[in-house]
């Protein structure tokens, strides 16, 4: 999997975003063992301390947990995973509405345009 980092944003927060996305999308499934910090750091081309910091923060958020001897795993807690999906959905929706509002659409117009987009049968959803 490829890693891309934007300029001017702390790398550890970008790692958290990317790893969170991988968990949400199932690239790392619930209960999966994660690669070691060193392997992840090598893969992403980042400093191991930075990767460690990101993993510690993901642990704090309950997205991953570590077993003392066997490594770090993706959470199997359904509540955490459901909340993760909800949070991501809200983030995307706020980005979308913000952009649509910027081009002058009001709430009803946004609702209509989303509905008709979903109704078009050439869409994937």
């Amino acid at each position: 999997m490829e890693w891309f980092f934007k300029n001017g944003i702390p790398i550890y927060t970008q790692i958290i975003d990317e790893m969170t996305m991988r968990i949400a999308s199932g690239a790392y499934a619930p209960g999966d063992k994660l690669p070691s910090v060193r392997e992840l750091a090598m893969d992403a081309g980042v400093n191991p301390n930075t990767m460690q910091k990101a993993m510690a923060e993901m642990e704090r958020r309950g997205l991953v947990f570590s077993e003392r001897t066997s490594g770090r795993f993706v959470t199997q807690d359904e509540n955490v995973l459901r909340k993760l999906h909800e949070d991501l959905a809200r983030t995307y929706l706020s980005e979308l509405t913000e952009k649509l509002q910027k081009i002058g659409m009001d709430r009803d117009e946004i609702r209509n345009v989303v509905d008709s987009w979903l109704a078009e049968d050439n869409q994937e959803v």
Binding site: F5, N7, G8, I9, P10, I11, Y12, R38, A41, M42, A44, G45, V46, N47, P48, N49, T50
Partner: protein
């Protein structure tokens, strides 16, 4: 105890000031970028840390010792130009390193040389510039030192090799060592750095963590560098 402790270091070459009142303390467990334009004093600083140059004023300590025989056992140094005998082959150089440095891991060096497709029986003289640089870096990184001083390790190699070198630095990372990388190719290495040190005209102008620069300045290290050193 800091791995590297520099206090009020000034280095003069005749009447020219190469380094002026530089103080810097570097702890173990860090990868540090020593960044500055050409002629800013990066190489002079690294050579002083390695005992190849002596301070005009001030002091330099490695593991709380003045650079000398004892510190050289613990410092792995990649010079900015080839310092190895040109007539020697890869294999002979590995033997040389194994003889000289007790902490040299020959198996590791051979594995890295194989990864990079380096011919074990070719002499340094016959190697391309890039291959020479790769081999020298391998010899240095295969040591298990306390301090790694890498003077322009990625300057002359292609982007794919650059990636391999950075991955090698990451995979060799150990929390007891400090790695100092001098370069002006900042965008290539900035994601690997803990700490960033800018030097300009022989003076230390900034010492921050790379994440601080991204967070507080909202810039990449490369962008900040271009601002600080705008011509």
């Amino acid at each position: 105890m800091a791995r590297i402790e520099i206090e009020h270091l000034t280095k003069m070459f005749g009447s020219r000031i190469a380094l002026e009142d530089v103080s810097l303390s570097l702890e173990k467990g860090q990868i540090v970028g020593l960044l500055g334009p050409n002629g800013s004093g990066k190489t002079t600083l690294i050579k002083t840390l390695n005992g190849l140059l002596t301070p005009t004023h001030g002091s330099v300590r490695i593991n709380d010792m003045t650079p000398g025989v004892e510190t050289k056992k613990r410092v792995a140094y990649l010079p900015d130009r080839t310092a190895l005998p040109e007539h020697m082959t890869t294999l002979q150089l590995m033997e040389l390193y194994a003889d000289f440095f007790a902490d040299f891991d020959r198996q590791k060096a051979e594995a890295m040389a194989e990864d990079l497709g380096i011919d074990f029986n070719q002499t340094l003289k016959k190697m391309s510039k890039g291959t020479k640089e790769k081999l020298q870096l391998i010899l240095v990184m295969a040591r298990k030192a306390d301090v790694y001083l890498l003077d322009e390790p990625i300057g002359g190699v292609d982007p794919a090799t650059r990636d391999y070198i950075l991955k090698t630095i990451i995979s060799n990372y150990n929390e007891d060592a400090v790695v100092v990388i001098s370069t002006h190719l900042i965008s290539d290495i900035e994601s690997v750095l803990d700490d960033v040190v800018f030097i300009k005209d022989g003076k230390l102008v900034l010492h921050k963590t790379a994440e601080q620069i991204r967070e507080e300045d909202g810039k990449s290290v490369d962008q900040l560098f271009r601002e600080v050193f705008r011509c």
